[in-house]
Amino acid sequence: MFSRFKNRMNTTAPRHRLTQGGLRLSDLRSGEKARILEIGGSEQFRIRLMEMGLLVNDIVEVDKYAPLMDPMELIVKGYHLSLRRMDAEKIAVELIERNE
């Protein structure tokens, strides 16, 4: 009964460390736009983001944070995605539009 869950545990690939320092997606305030420079984290996470349409070089806008400050809502290519801050921390970005 439990084995099928444990099997999956072992397949997790090594984590990809971000090479860039600096700004992370989780640092952005709502209303700010940024370009994705690099996506870190486990392979599963990175593939999942790709499958959901979030790729390097895409432009994301932080629409808002949830009432309890986590997760955050993003707009990518005209549709809305929600990510937890701990996951957004694994995404390096460069700011292209500041929210005054």
């Binding site: 392979e43 593939i47 999942r48 790709m50 349409g53 009432p67 309890l68 005209g78 549709y79 929600s82």
Partner: protein, 759 residues
């Protein structure tokens, strides 16, 4: 007519796949589960040009990797069952991401039609799509569709027909071309595959999957002869790609897929420069607002609760009354045999016990359908994720947990809204700790008996304890038995839509009928067992002759009555002698009337006293009979088990019967204390008996905790079995909750006794 052809409908979540499935098949649908997993499997039929098509609705997925059960189910079906045609539903307003799945479907290589849905929304967004060119680029005909209005469905049927008749011009298989570095490795692996014996049917697809380090792909290669060489070549190929791309091979391939798509969409999609109005964003400015988001969410939850349980209470009462009437009249019609009792008390009574839940369940499913179809469900997850995340759960899991306060059965069935199986199991396992409404009568009884001053506080603390246990258990499970399956939270917030009433009703019915079919069988067996426990053995050895006792009570009653009558007559005679007036007869005098009133009141007082005595004898007989039946013997048998908690065999029996439904604990006490089975939690007799039974407030508290935590009822157990699809998890849940209940009640009794609290 030739054989029915199979059409598999595949697509992303929120792309309108179900709408198109419904539009194709109408109401001729059959809902079941995919074998071995609790993922809904919908099947329907339609006839076009005298050809019957069997349509299978595959689970909505973003990809066909082995990320989730849904993806596995969809992939296995396409690869192993080889449907004749795939209808790939694609959201035109969100083309690039939707086509990611399409690239994988193309690679598997079944004949395919692309249903380009939500054309109206794409137009609103200012997108112009050249469907002809897109079809050529993807190697599959593209049909523009507006699922909500049914526009384009007939064309889709015609294309499906032409594809299978091989008369379509555009259906020619194409390969997704990757970068040269990747293509070289695909070729290397393909060569090994083709040279070995029993090569797979689709060599190129298998080669790509091998490069993606897909674990499950080896299952398709069982018959393949040269596995060792294949393994070596694959490892070498992956190494080469990772060296060139400085990334995992899987990420490199996914990137390449998007590269292909970017090229295709740039050629076919023209976007007007004007920024479209994002209505959903405007609605969300209020609904997920930092300040109003939570109160509005709480309001919706409250409404859902009120609708499900308050509105549902009316039909619930009708069904309850109907069943009681049926049971009573059947008892009147048929002789009192074992068969009558089995059918009427065991089967009708037992199934009636679940039938009362039907209104709740249907209303809940209807509300959930509204939340899902409108798009608010995703927002609920967005708002509550912060809280649920602490338990290792997805934000959506909040809904079934709150519903648990009403009844765990629909709540556990509501775990279907969760996408991952791990989340569903985890939410199902902790759901019984949400104190359901059936437990309340027990709290009122026991708290009322032992904590009359603080009953409210004690009852409230039971609810709090339940939540605390649920949170701790959730954390515990997600770190132990359900570890490692937690997935990154990437949630799409789809645009808001006005739900269609026909689709709401269809969804409600689909889910509700599963409850009727499957739960019926488990409950039926369970109720027959419990009925048998209370029915056998037929002959019981009673310690006293209750028949003689009640005869004696009746005798005494009669003689008492005649004593009163005689005294009355004597008084009348005496009065007559002293009576002087000749104007009015004695029988009309005030004195006589007084005497009559005196006699009547005496008679009625004696009546009450003796009636009570008779009842007492009858209840004592019932209690003793119960203790002699198997169920009573079970109570005695488990007494040593519950003795360390300070419980007696009575608590044992009450807990065993409480397994059928928690509120039965109260009526069991009614029988055991000899005050009758129809006692309710405010019955004074039962309260006094409970206090005088040797139970202390401390034991009472332990008993309350036990009732809160142990397996709620048979129906819940059936729901757990149904939703986890495994007896293993069901047993785990029952054992875990029993152990936990026992340990906590043990702790309360032992520690409390040592410090002489509440004794």
């Amino acid at each position: 007519m030739s054989r029915a052809l199979t059409v598999a409908v595949a697509g992303n979540p929120n792309c309108g796949k179900t709408t198109i499935f419904n539009a194709l098949t109408g109401t001729r649908q059959h809902v079941g589960n995919w074998p071995g997993v609790t993922v809904e499997r919908k099947e329907g039929r339609f006839v076009h040009n005298e050809q019957t098509y069997k349509v299978i609705d595959l689970p909505g997925t973003y990809s066909l990797s082995t990320y989730s059960v849904e993806e596995l189910v969809a992939r296995d079906f396409i690869v192993q069952s080889e449907p004749d045609i795939i209808v790939n539903v694609v959201d035109a307003s969100n083309l690039e991401r939707n086509l990611f799945l399409t690239t994988q479907l193309i690679e598997i290589g079944r004949p395919m039609v692309i249903a380009l849905n939500m054309m109206d929304m794409a137009r609103e967004k200012g997108l112009e799509i050249d469907t002809e060119t897109l079809g050529v680029l993807l190697g599959a005909p593209v049909v523009p569709i507006v699922g909500r209005t049914g526009e384009g469905i007939d064309v889709l049927k015609e294309k499906i027909h032409r594809i299978q008749a091989h008369t379509s011009q555009k259906a020619r298989h194409i390969d997704i071309q990757y970068h040269r570095d990747i293509e070289t490795q695909i070729e290397a692996i393909s060569r090994v595959l083709e040279q070995g014996e029993v090569p797979p049917i689709n060599v190129r697809w298998v080669a790509v999957k091998l490069l993606e380090k897909d674990e499950r792909i080896w299952e398709y290669l069982e018959a393949f002869s040269d596995k060792e060489k294949l393994r070596q070549t694959t490892a070498e190929a992956i190494h080469q790609i990772e060296k060139i791309y400085q990334d995992t091979s899987r990420a490199a391939i996914s990137h390449a897929r998007y590269g292909f798509l970017r090229g295709a969409t740039q050629e076919c999609v023209r976007s007007s420069t004007t920024e479209p109005v994002d209505y959903s964003r405007k609605i969300d400015k209020v609904l997920t607002n930092r300040l109003f988001g939570l109160p509005i969410f709480a309001l919706f939850m409250w409404l859902m609760f009120v609708l499900t349980f308050d509105l549902g209470a009316y039909p619930m009462d009708w069904i309850d009354a109907g069943i009681s009437w049926l049971v009573n009249s059947l008892h009147g019609l048929f002789p009192d045999t074992m068969l009558t009792s089995l059918v009427v008390d065991g089967m009708i009574g037992g199934v009636g016990a679940i039938a009362v839940f039907l209104p709740n369940i249907f209303i809940l499913f209807f509300v959930i359908a509204i939340l899902e179809d409108s798009g608010y469900m995703a927002r609920m997850a967005f708002i509550m994720d912060r809280v649920m995340h602490t338990m290792g759960l997805h934000g959506k899991a909040f809904i079934p947990l709150v519903m648990g306060f009403g009844c765990n059965v629909p709540a556990i069935m509501g775990t279907r809204i969760l996408e991952s199986r791990r989340d569903r199991i985890l939410t199902t396992l902790i759901n019984p700790f949400m104190s359901c409404s059936a437990r309340l009568p027990v709290y009122i009884l026991v708290a009322g008996a032992f904590f009359p001053e603080n009953a409210g506080t004690v009852i409230f603390s039971m609810y709090v304890l339940g939540v605390v246990v649920a949170i701790i258990s959730g954390k515990l499970f997600s770190k132990t038995v359900l570890h490692g399956m937690s997935k990154p939270f990437v949630l799409e917030l789809p645009p808001y839509q006005k739900p269609k009433i026909s689709s709401l009703l269809l969804h409600t019915w689909e889910r509700g009928q599963v409850f009727i079919r499957k739960m019926g069988s488990v409950i039926l067996v369970g109720s027959i067992i419990v009925w048998a426990l209370g029915y056998f053995p037929r002959e019981v050895q009673l310690s006293q002759d209750y028949v003689a006792q009640s005869a004696q009570v009746r005798q005494e009653w009669k003689s008492q009555e005649s004593v009163i009558e005689q005294a009355f007559h004597a008084s009348v005679e005496k009065g007559k002698q002293q009576y002087v007036s000749a104007m009015v007869p004695f029988e009309s005098s005030g004195h006589y009337k007084e005497l009559v009133a005196q006699r009547d009141s005496l008679q009625s007082q004696t009546g009450t006293v003796y009636q009570e005595k008779l009842q007492k004898v009858d209840y004592t007989r019932q209690a003793e009979t119960m203790s002699q039946k198997w169920i009573g013997k079970m109570g005695k048998l488990i007494e040593p088990l519950v003795a360390p908690l300070g419980f007696t065999w009575r608590e044992g029996v009450a807990l065993v019967t409480g397994f059928v439904a928690k509120e039965i604990v109260v009526s069991t006490y009614g029988v055991l204390f000899g005050v009758g089975a129809d006692a309710n939690e405010e019955n004074a007799g039962i309260l006094t008996s409970l206090r005088n039974s040797g139970m202390t407030p401390l034991i009472g508290l332990g008993f309350l905790v036990f009732v809160l935590l142990y397996t709620p009822c048979l129906a819940t157990m059936a729901a757990i079995r149904r939703e986890t699809g495994s007896w293993g998890w069901t047993t785990f849940s029952v054992v875990y909750s029993l152990l936990l209940a026992w340990i906590l009640a043990f702790g309360i009794y032992q520690i409390g006794s040592a410090f002489q609290w509440l004794s």
